[in-house]
């Protein structure tokens, strides 16, 4: 096991990159602590898989260094780095049994037979696959196959890190829960460094202690799930995390007041004037719908467009002062006939040029 450092990593698939646009990864500088659970989150094409493959050694970066503890690993193969990786589609060796699949990495490394048998037996138990040990791996379901892919990494004991590339894509929702919880438990039990690539915010947030949000080859924010939810450093993070995402709209802020048409919404912080565009971000969870009298002067008249009952919650869509707003309310709450929207002043985020104002929150790692 090791601490993994990325030292000014940049990568281009073009052998002679001419402009910044040619780079799939712009400049990544970050350190992954030993034993941490991390997620790389972002939309397709943001460079998250490229970064993962650079960490594992399947890809050599155009610039920068990869260090495991103090050792420079940039030019070493995955095998030399001693990492394990689980892919989007389960990779199994069709002609082998489940047990043989799990033994394979050990056999390749010349581990003694008795030791192999012991570890495989343990792994079969951990993965709850004892009954299928001697079945050919070919006929298994997708989630069982994915467990085997994972098991081939775990069985090695001494791996530096386990990397996951969207491992739950082909798994049914119910099984997703089981596998994800299993991963989480294994992480707690075994203490491997785990790095998990996904576009699915729920998977990223629930799995990781720290989530790295990426967009177009850049890291936008690194933070705990709470930080990403409460204080998105960039408007994209606000939009990308949460379902529905943060309401983001252009607005005017004067000191500690947000001007919404004729209504003054008080904020609990003051903001300096800024030259670029100012945007307001508020999560649907932090808007209350109430009556005019209860809302008072800070209430925004809310033109309700639709209410979607999604079981546990209701998503209310509408407009206030010319701004489209989504509001999330509890399954049992009633929506008044003439609703007024009230913002939770604590939770309003102000963005200047897409960056969270009061700007010390944006992690320095993402800027170079």
């Amino acid at each position: 096991m090791a601490r993994i450092s990325l030292d000014q990593i940049a990568h281009s698939f073009n052998p002679r990159p001419s402009s910044e646009a040619d780079y799939a990864l712009k400049s990544i500088h970050y350190q992954w602590d030993d034993g941490g659970a991390y997620a790389l989150l972002g939309p397709s094409g943001c460079g998250k898989t490229t970064l993962l493959n650079i960490i594992s050694g399947l890809l050599t970066p155009s610039n920068g260094r990869v260090l495991y503890d103090e050792r420079d690993m940039t030019l070493l193969t995955p095998e030399q780095r001693n990492i394990a990786q689980v892919f989007q589609f389960p990779v199994i060796y069709d002609t082998m049994t489940v047990a043989e699949n799990l033994a394979f990495p050990l056999v390749n490394r010349g581990v003694e037979r008795a030791e192999i048998n012991k570890r495989v037996a343990e792994m079969l138990e951990t993965l709850e696959l004892e009954e299928k040990a001697n079945r050919r791996a070919q006929g298994l379901t997708a989630d069982e196959k994915q467990k085997i892919s994972l098991g081939r990494g775990l069985v090695r004991y001494d791996v530096s890190a386990i990397l996951f590339d969207e491992p739950l894509t082909v798994i049914d929702p119910h099984m997703k829960w089981q596998l994800r919880t299993k991963l989480k438990t294994l992480h707690e039990q075994l203490g491997y460094t785990m790095i998990y690539v996904t576009h699915d915010q729920t998977e990223a947030l629930t799995f990781a202690d720290k989530v790295v949000v990426m967009l177009e080859g850049n890291v936008l924010q690194v933070g705990t799930p709470e930080e990403l939810f409460d204080q998105p450093a960039h408007t994209f993070v606000g939009y990308f995390i949460g379902s529905p995402g943060m309401n983001i709209f252009p607005g005017t802020v004067v000191g500690n007041t947000l001007k919404m048409g004729s209504v003054d919404v008080p904020l609990n912080k003051g903001y300096a004037e800024c030259a670029g565009k100012t945007e307001i971000g508020i999560r649907p969870e932090f808007i209350r719908l109430t009556t005019a009298s209860e809302a008072g002067s800070r209430g925004l008249k809310f033109n309700l467009r639709s209410v979607e009952d999604v079981g546990r919650l209701k998503i209310v869509r509408g407009q206030a002062e010319g701004v489209a707003l989504n509001v999330v309310v509890d399954e049992n709450s009633d929506i008044p006939a003439e609703p007024y929207a009230v913002f939770d002043a604590e939770r309003v985020c102000v963005y200047q040029n897409s960056m969270l104002a009061d700007g010390d929150i944006l992690s320095t790692e993402s800027r170079t």
């Binding site: 589609f89 069709d94 990495p105 050919r136 070919q138 892919s149 081939r152």
Partner: protein, 296 residues
């Protein structure tokens, strides 16, 4: 997965049925007809029953020819299949050289059988042929017309040169369809090149390999044109394969009855062996998975 149904489809198949009936079934019936009768010309036929079959099956000449065929097919499969896989493995998977390699590989396949025979006939001649002359000047006493080993070697090399490309192309198609993740996972598992071949590549190209083996078997078992052009079945009877023997019997000696019986036996042997190959390879590593679960 079942196909959509459409009764009109039968009309499209009908012409093929008619064509096959005229070109295959009717001649086959004629052959059956000949095989169970005897004739002395003049279109007078006598019932012979299974007499011709018994005669053919008991004759040394048939046994020898069949033995040559089996030996030849065995040699061909033993060389072309491993060689084809090996070449396919070394071909580039992407980039500029892919189309170049594929075209080069496909070239021999475009040459007709008799031309191949003629090319090698000239190529191997000691007086004017490049191969024959070179070998002679190296001190090798090479002559496919008089030396049995040389005749066989020439036919085998000729067939390998002509048909290995087919195996290469089929295997290559199978290899490029293996997702990259399998190779990556194998690298991470620390698998050797041999393990990658044995546990990933070979199982994944099993199906195309089956087709390659079947095609090469059937084709090599039916070999006719090349030895006919090159050696005419000689020296002696050393390259007289079943097909050549059949033609000799039917056209050379005009023994239509035995020839018909022989060709039916020949046909049944090919059918039987093909079926054996197919079942063996299909069941190798069986425990069929539910096709609906397959992800790739």
């Amino acid at each position: 997965m079942s196909k959509p149904y459409n009764n009109k489809a039968w009309w499209f198949v009908l012409p093929v049925f008619v064509l096959v009936a005229f070109s295959a079934i009717i001649p086959l019936m004629t052959v059956v007809n000949y095989s169970i009768q005897d004739t002395f010309g003049n279109n007078v036929f006598y019932w012979a029953g299974l007499e011709w079959f018994q005669e053919v099956l008991a004759s040394d000449r048939f046994h020898n020819a069949l033995g040559r065929n089996l030996l030849f097919s065995t040699i061909i499969l033993a060389i072309e299949i491993p060689l084809g896989i090996a070449i396919a493995l070394t071909l580039p998977k992407k980039g500029f050289w892919v189309p170049v390699c594929l075209v080069l590989m496909a070239l021999p396949l475009l040459i007709p059988w008799n031309v191949v025979g003629t090319i090698w006939q000239v190529f191997g001649r000691a007086d004017i042929g490049l191969l024959g002359h070179t070998l002679m000047s190296l001190g090798v006493d090479y002559n496919y017309a008089t030396n049995i080993f040389d005749a066989w070697a020439t036919i085998v090399v000729m067939d390998v040169w002509h048909w290995t490309s087919l195996v290469v192309l089929l295997c290559y198609a199978g290899l490029v369809s293996i997702p990259e993740a399998y190779y990556q996972a194998a690298r991470i598992d620390g698998a050797s090149k041999w393990s990658v071949f044995k546990y990933i590549q070979l199982p994944k190209i099993k199906r195309v390999l089956l087709i390659a083996v079947l095609l090469r078997f059937m084709d090599s078992f039916m070999i006719y044109t090349e030895p006919f052009v090159l050696t005419g079945g000689g020296p002696g009877n050393s390259t007289t394969f079943l097909s050549i023997d059949l033609v000799k019997t039917a056209i050379g000696q005009f023994d239509l009855g035995p020839a018909a019986a022989m060709s039916l036996i020949y046909f049944l042997i090919i059918l039987l062996l093909s079926w054996v190959f197919y079942t063996v390879m299909e069941n190798y590593g069986a425990e069929k998975s539910d096709p609906r679960v397959e992800q790739d």
